[in-house]
Symmetry: C2
Subunit: 337 residues, 2 copies
């Protein structure tokens, strides 16, 4: 599965920015893959791309229209269908991050078939995987892990890909969730895979590679999240990371959507090494990424410094302060002569 680019971003008529989080993520990281945005009357989201319609997007070279929004309830509103059919009729593929599959709508399925175009439902996977083997593969891998869900694991992985490439390393971001898949054009929603194949899907995503190549893998969930730890563990075993970065949001007190407390960074480091050594006995922590959005700059700096000293690894907010220290640590640990 490879989503053809450039993209047209479809924002529908969603009421707020939160509903367009996926589109914003694409623009943050792949602005140059986007020819424009298409908004219906009443849309309050704005990805700050040129406004366009289907014909304008095709003229600008768009190959795929991305439905980069969710609407309450997760289903596809009837009044979006016309635009989706028009995109297919104009020769574009359509990719969606909605829970509902595009092909479930008869008019869309027919338009795709009629035009020989592809429909991508990135929350689902039609792919069949083998079960994980757990055998060590050539190439290196870095996984972002979290003290909770939604703490910046995708963002940290993308920042690390960019930072590592900037230092001349051969690094590729590997997407495990819907927004990440749009950003990299490929990947697998590991939480949508049948349970038996979680680690197998992670192995497929990060196959054998050149010895100095890095897969920078987007983590999912947390080993300490009672809803999703199975996904996190299967991903950890399948990705067999050489290195990991712990992502943390310091103001959160409870895990997302459950009543469990947030684990400490130390607990996450220890659990990741304890579990990860099953498929990579040499696994180490190379850094900590703190989401300091809710702190002022002085507080953020002080906190990163304090955590760095406590754990002995570079600690940063990737958005505010970059990832240079972590990349430096990766080079020192894995690329020193």
């Amino acid at each position: 599965m490879e989503i053809a680019r450039p993209y047209l971003l479809f924002l529908g008529d969603v009421h707020d920015d939160l509903a367009a989080k996926t589109a914003y993520g694409i623009v943050d990281w792949r602005r140059d893959w986007c020819v424009g945005q298409l908004r219906l009357p009443g849309c309050n989201a704005d990805a700050e791309l040129p406004e366009t319609d289907i014909q304008g997007a095709v003229a600008a070279g768009a190959k795929t229209m991305i439905i980069g929004v969710v609407n309450p309830g997760g289903v596809l509103p009837d009044h979006w269908i016309e635009t989706i059919v028009a995109a297919l009729d104009a020769g574009m593929d359509v990719a969606s991050g909605l829970h509902m599959r595009l092909g479930e709508v008869e008019a869309i399925a027919e338009a795709a078939a009629r035009n020989g175009r592809q429909l991508f439902d990135v929350r689902h996977t039609a792919q069949r995987f083998a079960t994980g083997k757990g055998t060590k593969r050539p190439g290196m891998r870095l996984l972002t892990v979290g003290t909770d869900c939604s703490v910046g694991k995708k963002y940290a992985a993308l920042a690390l890909e960019k930072g590592m490439r900037g230092r001349g390393l051969n690094a590729d971001f590997r997407a495990t969730g819907q927004t990440g898949i749009f950003i990299s054009g490929r990947g697998v929603s590991v939480d949508a895979v049948v349970a038996d194949f979680i680690s197998g899907a992670a192995e497929w995503l990060t196959p054998a590679n050149e010895p100095d190549h890095w897969d920078v893998v987007e983590g999912q969930g947390s080993l300490f999240h009672p809803s999703f730890a199975g996904v996190s563990l299967g991903l950890l075993h399948g990705a067999q990371p050489d290195a990991f970065v712990v992502c943390h949001e310091p103001t959160r007190t409870q895990m997302r959507n459950v009543q469990h407390p947030i684990p400490t960074i130390r607990e996450v480091i220890d659990a990741t090494v304890y579990c990860g050594k099953l498929t990579n006995p040499a696994i180490i922590c190379v850094g900590i990424a703190i989401n300091t959005e809710k702190l002022d700059e002085a507080e953020a700096k002080a906190l990163c410094k304090e955590i760095a000293i406590e754990h002995g690894v570079p600690t940063t907010d990737p958005v505010r302060f970059g990832v240079e220290g972590i990349v430096e640590r990766v080079i020192r640990e894995f690329h020193a002569q």
Copy 2:
């Protein structure tokens, strides 16, 4: 989902006993739920039930025909379809442990619809689950865990249900795999659930109950198996066991279908407590079940004794020596005045 009984066991024309493992498991544990077996010419398996045909089974009260065999490749042979359709036409439901869904065969789907009968594909699940919440529920739970796959976790759980009931405890076996589902008439194949919902499915399977009620939960995989540890962890978190029993096959040197060594029993106890305390901080090991099939009786006894001393918990082969010691330990730990 509740599979109606009694059952007619369909053995097809499979060539050996291994292909009929599921049927044999049903007869081992639920002989009195089975009115007979139906075999096609050339069948080499024998569940030692009265031979019958569709009409005879219906006359004996059979409500469901169970396809208790697998054939090489996992698909449904064309020449079995006639018998399946006849069972539906005679008013029985049909339940299958094959990978292929019964409803994929048009003649079977039509016969089910025509007769208003149900088709059960126990390797799959049509059920939708919530994500796991991890909140402590009333009632007690015991989970069997393993040093590997296929070491006797289902058998140990069934023996414990029987032994606990024999001592007056209120205990119900909870099935997490296909044979177990036939044996209990309900359950969920947790390895077939979408990854996000593993722990949620386990919570659904073991809901809030009377304070002195035990769910005796069939374990899956192993926390140390690189293919399936995610399933094992999600099941552990969702089942939130108060007690667990480690199952082990002492002659095995490598984990099933991969190149990893078998962990020690101590490692499995430690990892189960380490991970399990997320949803039940009071989790304890109450016993060890050794599959001593390949040892002679004296060796088996000596090994159980040695392991019991090493780990300080009752150790037995449930098949050879029963589970009285483990049940005794459960009573002492959880039901003492």
